[in-house]
């Protein structure tokens, strides 16, 4: 069995008294898309922030392709090949679409000062970026300011920029939030297209159609703990998960609630 791309080992994250991530253990296997579901405030985004280095880990360890990256500096984790998108779209609004993607070019992010000597419009860099924009259907808007993009295109730009960093693991945080049926369907197609370029994908989502069509395996989280794990069908039909999502019926809370 080849080594997993990502191993999260009993990771803990606390904000004051609240334990946002409560000793979560999971892994992303070679070329696998792992779905993460769970109600609001379950700790899903906190987990991604821990893996990508935005939050410091309070306990446990994270390994990426066998190497320990627990609490490694943000830019070091980025350079190792972990890229991500954000729930509230954090693109560079005052830069053009093409510049957004070219900014992620690993040749320059790794040695920023040396990039002063290079031409900003080097043929190779431009072609590489344009290929990605074509791949995500944004080539027509290359010179437009990212701030003016409609919602769906803004999401796709964020993914194109993440891919431009030549990652091996892509973390997606509710990419379909606020999208309608057609936009979600196109997003699923985009993710499938990206798969051959990546060794692993982590997808946080509330839209269950997307989870079913993209995730090979799914993990359900609630109150920072892993509640269920398995295929999409198994997890989405698990009574515990349905209850967490639909909420507790007033009268049937007689049984002692494990989450206390």
């Amino acid at each position: 069995m080849s080594q997993p791309v990502l191993e999260v080992d009993a990771v803990i994250k606390r904000f004051g008294g609240l334990v946002a991530v409560d000793s979560i253990t999971l892994e992303v296997r070679e070329r696998e898309a792992l779905g993460i579901v769970g109600p609001n405030g379950a700790g899903k985004t906190a987990l991604i922030n821990l893996v990508s280095g935005f939050y410091r880990v309070d306990g446990g360890a994270i390994r990426f392709r066998g190497r320990d990256i627990t609490n490694l500096k943000l830019h070091r984790i980025g350079r190792l090949g972990i890229a991500r998108t954000f729930q509230n779209i954090r693109i560079f609004r005052r830069m053009t679409v093409l510049e957004n993607v070219m900014a992620a070019n690993p040749r320059h992010t790794a040695r920023p000062l040396r990039s002063f000597l290079v031409s900003g419009a080097a043929r190779a860099d431009v072609d590489e970026a344009m290929a990605l924009l074509e791949f995500m259907g944004l080539a027509g808007r290359a010179d437009q300011l990212a701030g003016g993009l409609p919602y769906g295109d803004a999401r796709r730009l964020e993914m194109a920029r993440a891919l431009a960093a030549a990652p091996s693991l892509l973390l997606l945080d509710e990419p379909s939030a606020g999208m309608n049926e057609a936009e979600t369907a196109r997003l699923i197609a985009d993710i499938h297209k990206c798969r051959e370029r990546l060794q692993g994908i982590v997808l946080i989502e509330h839209d269950m159609t997307m989870i079913r069509q993209v995730a090979d395996r799914v993990i359900a989280m609630d109150y920072g703990k892993k509640m269920a794990e398995g295929t999409a069908e198994q997890v989405l039909n698990d009574p515990e998960v349905r209850r967490a999502y639909l909420g507790i019926m007033e009268d049937d809370r007689v049984a002692a609630d494990p989450r206390g």
């Binding site: 904000f15 004051g16 922030n49 935005f54 939050y55 410091r56």
Partner: protein, 294 residues
């Protein structure tokens, strides 16, 4: 005499505190810096000069200073801060208030000239005093100290007990939550500027009274030091500004006493940089428990 120097230190510290409290209020509520504060402090001195020139007892200058400075504060709020509420607007707002400050200095100099102007109040005010336990206590210094401490206590009561004070603390914490609770954030911001400016003007008046003259160029030096004191005490923390101001005043007096002289200047800045690097929110400021910014 050490004791006398300590009194001088406290008097000087009281003035630092009043300005620093003004900065803390504005910064606490608006999260912005105002560079016009120093000139409103300077104007306070000239209110004293004008009151004395009108032949009125000099204590009348306090209410005059409060009203005039309050209005100046409202003007600064409107011109320099109302429009710049974007996150990176605080630099532009600070510079705009700096420009308003330039105008204030120039207007004062048009009326009273560029050189310091004496307060024509009987010299006896400065000589009257008592000697207790062998220490020479001039009435004027005790009066200044008393007035300032009274203002500080009154302000603390107002902040903690009154509706205006509650609203100011609410807006300082969250403008959105305050609006949902029916608080008019714009009105509270104006009240904050009025109070902060009034405090600065009273401090300026006290300085003029102590020295017997008003000086149009006194603003920047004093204000920068008060800014450092606010940072040391804790951004936006009124208590921190009070204690910080008094402490620095005394420290400088001591430095002067042991003729470290000039280096007392560097003292404040060195302390500020040290405190800001170790604990960015200052000694008393609440360490805003912001997680590693996600």
């Amino acid at each position: 005499m050490l004791a006398e120097q300590l009194i001088n230190g406290l008097v000087l510290g009281a003035m630092y505190a009043l300005i620093a409290i003004g900065y803390s209020l504005v910064f606490g509520v608006l999260d912005k810096l105002t560079f016009a504060h120093s000139e409103i402090f300077m104007v306070g001195g000239y209110v004293g000069v004008a009151t004395a020139a009108l032949g009125m007892p000099v204590w009348w200058a306090i209410p005059f200073a409060i009203v005039i400075a309050g209005i100046l504060g409202l003007i600064v709020e409107y011109v320099s801060f109302r429009k710049f509420n974007t996150p990176d607007g605080h630099i532009t707002a600070a510079l705009s208030s700096f420009a308003v400050g330039i105008v204030m200095i120039d207007l004062v100099q048009k009326v009273w000239g560029t050189d310091p102007v004496d307060l024509d109040i009987p010299r006896s005010i400065y000589t009257a005093g008592i000697t207790a336990w062998g220490i020479r206590l001039a009435w004027i210094k005790l009066a200044i100290l008393g007035t300032t401490l009274a203002i500080m206590v009154g302000l603390q009561l107002m902040i903690m007990k009154s509706r205006i004070g509650r609203n100011i603390r609410a807006v300082a914490e969250s403008g959105t939550a305050s609006a949902l609770l029916g608080i008019d954030v714009k009105r509270v911001t104006q009240q904050t500027f009025f109070i902060a400016s009034a405090l600065a003007a009273v401090a300026g008046l006290m300085l003029a009274l102590r020295g017997g003259f008003a000086d149009s160029n006194v603003g920047l030096g004093f204000a920068l030091k008060a800014l450092a004191i606010m940072a040391i005490g804790g951004m936006g923390d009124v208590r921190g500004a009070m204690l910080g101001g008094l402490a620095i005043g005394v420290l400088e007096a001591l430095a002067f006493q042991f003729d470290l002289g000039k280096f007392s200047e560097v003292l404040v800045w060195g302390l500020m940089i040290a405190v800001l690097l170790v604990r960015p929110t200052g000694l008393f400021g609440r360490a805003t428990a912001r997680e590693l910014r996600a």
